[in-house]
Amino acid sequence: MTILQDAPPAAAAPAVRETMTMAAALNRALADALAEDDRVVVFGEDVGALGGVFRITDGLRARFGEERCFDTPLAEAGIVGTAVGMAMNGLRPVVEMQFDAFAYPALEQIVSHVAKMGNRTRGAMRLPIVIRVPYGGGIGGVEHHCDSSEAYYAHTPGLTVVSPATPQDAYALLRAAMRHPDPVVFLEPKKLYWAKGEVDTSITAELGRAVVVRPGSDVTLIAYGTSVPTALAAAEAAGAEGRSVGVVDVRTLAPFDDATVTDAVRATGRAVVVAEAPGFASVAAEIAARVGERCFSYLEAPVRRVTGFDVPYAPPKLEHHYLPDVDRILDAIDTLYPDEA
């Protein structure tokens, strides 16, 4: 079939509401976008016959054909660089980087072109590209398979950086990313790929919006990706100890939703930022700084961070020491109450 003209979208895919894994939700989002908009093309390494090493593109080639979902040579700069040219010519490429650390060869294309083309051309040439990156650890992966690389992208003006924490958000945020006029780095927390949750495909999500996923009146935990369920578990445990701890899921790391986070912290006066990446010069550091600037007179205690250590990601047998866990978050919450020590 010869396809991919600027035709209006085909009829929307029928809505479903069922329990599924995050991997299945992402797969459905890709399939629904491919079905509705023939400008969408999906490509990368092993995304065709294999369906991706995490099976996120499973069945897409069979259903939509080799022109819409295809394998490329093994070259990340080539994948992202050709996506730039495709977007310049009217397509909406969705590319898969196989693992976080394997995306680094594409960093020049992402930083110098994906992020800047719209600005460079004064808006004449915006690039609606989605770069999907499985990221983060907690899966027993060997070196180069567990990086939390979000700061590299979030630091780059022009990029929108998104990370879902639930199957519902995975579906809705990926759909929003694929409709977005600007490039989106879509970070998929691979530890949560097989976590299940209900997905209603008729629910939409807006990029640039954080969400309060658990209300609380004493402390606000601010997290994203894999750290959200960890933060929720810590909030539950703190609740058992008599503290009302809320959780904000950032969802869009950049541009950052100051309003939602600021409102939540002002209501509690105490904040802990939780993230897996090394803390130095990190997204967690930026969030802590913004909360400090905007909430200083409301704060009962300094903003704390619970992050990965400033070391290269740990080997599988040591990663449980590296990753933020419930106890480390609870310890940080305790430090917000120095008088009780």
Binding site: P73, A77, G78, G81, T82, M86, M88, L91, T121, A124
Partner: protein, 385 residues
């Protein structure tokens, strides 16, 4: 640009080219010798008279544009200018080889090619003047923004061509680079993707001998840059880069191959950067003036003028007309460059995202406040006697 729907074969050629068909010639293709006498070639014919005259006009305008830009740098009207003086035949041929719906992906040294493709010189110089990062609407001219990181644009060119193929359009994409860029990883990835997906791309390398100060011998040990093509499974060809008829013949063939579904080609033009890398460079530190002088004798304009004059296709009256046209263009450019438009500081925030995020709006308000306070204090100083 108008789109040109066409049927393109869905599958690569049934009979892949034999390795011998992928190799370039031992010597660059040449249709003019150094005196401008024409030189018959068994495969590449001399382009017709009208095309040669059109090309000569573009050469005259291109040389004048280069020299005017160099003068504008000296006057402080341009921040920097990487001149293509001596490479104008490559610049002109790049533009002439393409049709209306085709695309060019140029570098910072390709201002003359961009202008030859129809972009007004003042718009082509916005990057080098420092007003903004690019000054023209790419889709209006079929010219991508000028790339300064050397090889990244080659992948954009390949992606553009891939989309054209998927959309069933007959677009051909010319991907431009210099000899230094062939050492970059993106050059390799671009040629590999173009060949694997059998895309309508012509890779056009202007080998001018130097990457700033580093000579070609430090970029490659290959017999020629065009020899790299066989490693990707595409044809490569070498051409005298100061010979406009040969450039047109070789590029025309490559464009036709791309348009008819024959896939990509790598063309290496052997030329010479007659001037320093930019005004900020001192080329006496790395090359001898004798070397530069040997290339003066191969000047692309001189050779074309000799050819056209010997055939009596170029009269003195026509030559005067062309000089007058070039002077008028240069005068217009000087006026455009003298006129300093007020740079709008809000533009810094306007195009980063399609919708301005609240944090960027806050930052713009901060800057706007700074500006209004500095204006107010300037005003109060003026009132003070």
């Amino acid at each position: 640009m108008p789109r040109n729907p066409t049927h393109r074969p869905a599958h690569p050629r049934e009979h892949p080219l034999a390795p011998g068909d992928l190799l370039p010639r031992d010597e660059p293709v040449r249709l003019l010798d150094e005196t401008g006498a024409s030189h018959a070639d068994e495969r590449y014919g001399m382009p017709p008279k009208a095309r040669l005259l059109e090309g000569y006009r573009a050469l005259v305008l291109g040389r004048r544009l280069n020299d005017q830009c160099t003068a504008l740098v000296r006057q402080g009207r341009l921040a920097v200018y990487p001149s293509s003086h001596g490479q104008e035949a490559c610049q002109v041929a790049a533009a002439m080889a393409l049709g209306e719906g085709d695309w060019m992906f140029p570098t910072y040294r390709d201002v003359v090619a961009i202008a030859s493709r129809g972009v007004p010189p003042a718009e082509a110089l916005v990057l080098l003047r420092g007003d903004w990062h690019s000054g023209y609407d790419p889709a209006r001219y079929g010219v991508a923004p000028q790339a300064t990181p050397l090889a990244t644009q080659l992948l954009h060119a390949v992606g553009y061509a891939h989309a054209a193929k998927l959309r069933g359009e007959s677009t051909v994409v010319l991907a431009m680079s210099g000899d230094g860029a062939t050492s970059e990883g993106d050059f390799h990835e671009a040629l590999n993707f173009a060949a694997v997906f059998h895309l309508p791309v012509v890779f056009f390398v202007q080998n001018n001998g130097y990457a700033i100060s580093v000579p070609l011998a430090r970029q490659t040990a290959a017999p020629s840059l065009a020899h790299k093509a066989i490693g990707y499974g595409m044809p490569g060809q070498r051409v005298d880069g100061n010979d406009l008829p040969a450039l047109l013949a070789v590029l025309d063939e490559a464009v036709e191959r791309a348009r008819s579904g024959g896939g990509p080609t790598l063309v290496e033009a052997h030329t010479y950067r007659m001037q320093a890398h930019t005004n900020a460079d001192d080329d006496t530190r790395y090359r001898e003036s004798e070397e530069v002088q040997t290339w003066v004798a191969r000047d692309p304009l001189t050779r074309m003028r000799a050819l056209l004059t010997s055939k009596r296709w170029l009269t003195q009256a026509r030559e005067h007309e062309l000089v007058a046209e070039a002077e008028a263009m240069a005068a217009g450019l000087r006026v455009a460059m003298t006129d300093e438009p007020e740079a709008d500081p809000e533009e810094l925030f306007r195009h980063v995202y399609a919708t301005r995020p609240p944090a960027l709006q806050e930052q713009w308000e901060l800057l706007a406040d700074e500006l209004s306070r500095s204006e107010a204090s300037a005003g109060s100083r003026e009132e003070t006697p």
